[in-house]
């Protein structure tokens, strides 16, 4: 039986605390899940984070956890904890739309590896959350199913493309969410919703069952309210997977241990000179500077580092990602799954394909498919795609040189706080600037975290921490210590300052 009176407190628990309460028998997984479902019922009409709520499946998974605990079985560190899953990862028993009309109503017949691992860890998947169509966007306004709203200010964007993931966690609908990050799509929503978000090292988390946007950049990762919660989720989903040939067969970095160390004395921190100045909100720069000053006070050695090619990361990304997307999205051809339009018995396959893609794709997807087709076409290939790939090499070299001097790099996560809904939808170039600071790590493959830095006019902004490939634990080492110090100074976690919905 569910005691609804406990719900308001339960949804505010961290994932670690929820799991500990379940393990101790103070809370059942069913109670935790019902509390999350009640919260969704209460606030999601306003926030619109969820595209699909699988109440029956979630409660069944929670009951299984409670039964296994009652039988004395050992449970994982996140057993019974509810989670919101970005709708770009397949899960049996739920639709997978990728925020697109072209996949409306489609049910994948298999679980993504991330989902298999969540289920194996006894995490309770509540349902699928909103996103920019095929993860292309920075505001979640490119979803075919309507925008998600920022729980801090419902007139503003929650970031994107993992805006549903971030909004669900910030609105206390779930303590954890899975997002994906191709150019900043975990870190930017985490920053503007006041959360911790991590893009793991490319290859660290399997892409099997992650519907591809830009295969050489896409990576799934955690969103949470604390560094420790993010680490627990990171550890649950990471690791080699033979089903993804780009998955790397190395040990998962010790992220949970690193999150708990809370000691950055002697850690060398590099402030990226190029990720500042023109285009950066003065409030963002002030919050960032204060966080860096806190690192110094904690005993970190802070220096300025130059990464001269980072200024070319954004243009290189907007050639590489659309090029890969134009190729990847060719699979949406109306033949084997998804929407089919105009199959009247007369029209041929190519015409049906063209009509279906016209009807099924939204404006941003069309822009990027056409842009990618252009960049890859003969005569332009060398000047655009080929040159962008060379710039990618130079950005990796900038990182390599920087990490000879320092252990981690830091920058603001985004140049500005959350902007008003609708303010950039018709200006793609302006929208793309949201990813200015986050793209270099995608191009070079290294891990990066966004951590709440402070408020600018009542809106959260983040500090980004970047590490070399396969040194994901450094993010959690620095993030854990900084979070503790910033929370102590403030007297409470940043999210406690969010207005009630």
């Amino acid at each position: 039986m569910t005691d609804h009176s406990i719900s308001p407190d339960v949804v505010h628990l961290t994932a670690a605390a929820t799991a500990a309460a379940i393990a101790a028998g103070e809370l059942s997984a069913v109670e935790a899940t019902q509390a999350a479902l009640d919260r969704i019922a209460k606030v999601d009409e306003t926030v619109h984070a969820f595209l699909h709520v699988d109440a029956d499946g979630a409660l069944a998974a929670a009951r299984a956890v409670d039964e296994r605990r009652a039988a004395g079985e050992a449970l994982g560190q996140l057993a019974g904890v509810p989670l919101a899953l970005k709708d770009v990862l397949t899960a049996r028993g739920m639709p997978t739309t990728c925020g697109s009309r072209i996949l409306e109503g489609w049910h994948a017949p298999y679980d993504a590896t991330v989902v298999s691992r969540l289920r194996a860890a006894d995490v309770v998947v509540l349902g699928k959350v909103n996103m920019d169509e095929f993860a292309m966007g920075s505001s979640t306004e490119n979803s075919a199913y309507g925008p998600t709203r920022n729980p801090w200010d419902i007139t503003r964007i929650p970031g994107g493309s993992s805006g549903g993931s971030a909004a669900a966690v910030a609105a206390f609908e779930a303590p954890l969410a899975i997002g994906t990050d191709t150019g900043g799509s975990i870190r930017q929503p985490a920053a503007v919703c006041g959360l911790v978000g991590v893009k793991p090292t490319y290859g660290g988390v399997s892409r099997y069952g992650l519907v591809a946007f830009s295969s050489s950049l896409d990576q799934a990762g955690p969103l949470a309210r604390t560094v420790t919660d993010a680490a627990l989720l990171h550890a649950a989903i990471a690791g080699h997977d033979p089903l993804d040939s780009t998955s790397v067969d190395v040990a998962v970095p010790p992220v949970v241990e690193a999150a708990g160390r809370r000691d950055v004395r002697g850690v060398r921190v590099g402030v990226v000179r190029e990720l500042a100045g023109e285009g950066y909100d003065p409030g963002v720069e002030a919050a960032f500077a204060a966080a860096v000053e806190t690192l110094t006070e904690l005993g970190a050695e802070v220096v300025e580092v130059s990464c001269p090619h980072f200024q070319y990361a954004l243009p290189a990304y907007y050639l590489i990602a659309p090029s890969e997307c134009s190729s990847n999205l060719a699979r949406f051809d109306a033949m084997r799954f998804g929407l089919r339009v105009g199959d009247d018995g007369e029209a041929g396959a190519e015409e049906v394909m063209s009509r279906t893609r016209e009807a099924g794709f939204g404006p941003e997807v069309k822009r990027r498919v056409i842009l990618g087709t252009y960049a890859l076409s003969s005569g332009y290939y060398d000047a655009y795609y080929g040159q962008a790939q060379k710039v990618r090499t130079l950005i990796s070299r900038d990182f390599t040189a920087a990490f000879e001097q320092v252990d981690v790099l830091v920058s603001p996560t985004t140049p500005t706080p959350a902007f008003p809904l609708g303010s950039k939808v018709d200006d793609p170039v302006s929208m793309y600037l949201s990813d200015l600071c986050t793209i270099p790590s995608n191009l070079a493959g290294g891990p990066a975290m966004s951590l709440p830095a402070g408020l600018v006019d009542g809106l959260p902004v983040g500090i980004q921490i970047m590490a070399p490939p396969f040194a994901d634990d450094r993010l959690y080492l620095v993030g854990g210590a900084l979070e503790e110090a910033l929370d102590a100074r403030r007297g409470h976690p940043l999210l406690a300052a969010a207005p009630a919905l």
Partner: protein, 98 residues
């Protein structure tokens, strides 16, 4: 480095994506603006720089060639726009006039 409305229409055809006149009107100037923003990659002198296609270089990734159960046909067809006799039913692929 301009991109014309006709070029956009041609690229849309190459992409097997019908576009309306209204879409072409919107897309051409937007793509023009995006291209002028991304053309900055040409400023970098990179003639002797090798391209990176993948963040973490991996070659010849193998896994054991072991037979595994495949998706049952009914499940594979469950999401199909049209199926017939246990197969995907697709529109004709050849033009009857050719």
């Amino acid at each position: 480095m301009g991109i014309t409305r006709d070029e956009v229409a041609h690229l849309a055809r190459l992409s097997r994506m019908s576009v309306t006149d209204d879409e072409l009107d919107a897309l051409a100037p937007q793509l023009e603006a995006i291209l002028s923003a991304v053309a900055r990659v040409a400023e970098v002198a990179a003639a002797d720089i090798p391209p990176t296609s993948h963040a973490v270089p991996l070659t010849n990734v193998f896994r054991p060639d072991i037979a595994r159960p495949s998706l049952p046909a009914a499940e594979a067809l469950a999401g199909a726009p049209a199926a017939e006799d246990g197969r995907f039913r697709v529109p004709r692929i050849l033009d009857p006039d050719e």
